[in-house]
């Protein structure tokens, strides 16, 4: 008797299998985890300009004040939020009774996350927001 695997790869299975809260939370956790790991490297690399003296570092800091970097920073905060908040959920599942209310926990934590994300957006872009509304006030 011949037996064969279908050769459906891992990613195809992940993509095609019907996902509910747990599946999406897991995917968000992987993506944000990878993004944060990548960020750590970028961060260390960016700090390495410190070895090139004050001017070089100040120039770099000025670059980070540009709107594009502000948006990126805001995005970074989103990843931090997603990873931390879902991390709380996983701890509840593994060491509490989270398996019984993990869907609700995910919903509430993500609502908290979205609010925190918007508030942070206000702080990051407060300068731009004030400018935009300056004419109206």
């Amino acid at each position: 008797m011949k037996v064969a695997k279908t050769g459906e790869g891992y990613f195809k299975l992940v993509a095609s299998y019907k996902k509910e809260t747990g599946g999406w939370a897991w995917i968000i956790h992987r993506i944000s985890g990878l993004a944060l790991t990548a960020y750590i490297y970028v961060h260390i690399y960016a700090l390495s300009t410190l070895t090139k003296g004050k001017e070089a570092f100040d120039a770099e800091m000025a670059l980070f004040q540009k709107p594009l970097f502000k948006v990126l920073e805001w995005l970074l905060f989103a990843f931090v939020l997603a990873h931390t908040l879902n991390g709380i959920r996983i701890v509840l599942v593994d060491f509490g009774k989270g398996s019984f209310y993990h869907k609700k926990a995910f919903a509430y934590l993500m609502i908290i996350g979205i609010i925190a994300f918007l508030v942070m957006g206000y702080f990051i872009f407060s300068h731009e927001i004030h400018q935009a509304f300056a004419g109206l006030l």
Partner: protein, 241 residues
């Protein structure tokens, strides 16, 4: 109603690659998926192969992937899948595939060899070391309650084959075997707790469970498998400290 069944077909002995074949059938919303599979096999295409036995959700032999999700073909009505209108012709087909990631014997019949190996690995039987008492080894109702849910498992493999950790790692014990480990580790009569804890305390044991809940979603017996795995994780941590 008219509905199309899009069924995974593959005979490793003759086919180079799997393919999907469409069957148009007249069905009732209250038909089970397995009823329609029988109809197709008996009336349209005798070469279609699938496994089933009890037809009542007890033997665990007809686990398959239906519309993207693992379930028992005998325990799901077409109306549960959203096909509810008797007079309608549904455009969206019902996709029937074998349990994901499993080796295929033919069509929807998969090879359970690995699944049983993992099941055997956790020693799925009562182990005692003390001499047997005069009569049977008694349990209190509370003792039974602790392992009641875990005892309901019918070993259909819907959970293990739905788990992304299984897909990425052939050696992962998987939810069904871990649930069985729980069933004996938390059995008040069993005396091989440490032995079994050692077996599941590996990177291919409980620690590969990333709490994705696919298993819970899939289990036809509605067992909260992830909760049982979390109890095992807790027990292992307690053992360390």
């Amino acid at each position: 109603m008219k509905v199309t069944f899009r069924i995974f077909r593959f005979n490793p002995e003759t086919d180079e690659k799997p393919y999907y074949k469409d069957y148009e059938v007249n069905a009732d919303p209250k038909d089970r998926v397995v009823d329609v599979l029988h109809y197709i096999k008996n009336e349209i295409d005798g070469t279609l192969t699938f496994r089933r036995s009890c037809l009542h959700g007890i033997c665990g032999s007809d686990g398959m992937r239906i519309n993207g999700k693992n379930m028992l073909a005998c325990s799901i009505l077409l109306q549960d899948l959203g096909y509810t209108d008797r007079d309608k012709t549904y455009k969206k087909p019902i996709v029937v595939e074998p349990l994901p990631g499993m080796p295929i014997i033919k069509d929807l019949v998969t090879d359970f060899t690995d699944f049983w190996k993992k099941y055997e690995a956790v020693k799925p039987y009562l182990i005692t070391k003390t001499p047997p008492p005069e009569r049977e080894r008694l349990q209190s109702p509370e003792d039974v309650e602790l392992i009641m849910e875990a005892s309901k498992c019918i070993l259909c493999a819907c959970c293990t084959t739905s788990c992304p950790s299984t897909w990425s790692n052939d050696n992962y014990l998987g939810p069904a075997a871990l649930l069985k480990a729980y069933r004996f580790i938390f059995d008040s009569r069993d005396e091989a707790t440490d032995e079994r804890l050692d077996i599941i305390d590996t990177p291919d044991g409980v620690w590969r469970c990333h709490t994705i809940f696919h298993c819970v979603q899939a289990c036809p017996k509605e067992i909260n498998i992830t909760w049982h795995i979390s109890q095992l994780k807790k027990k292992l941590v307690e053992r360390e400290i």
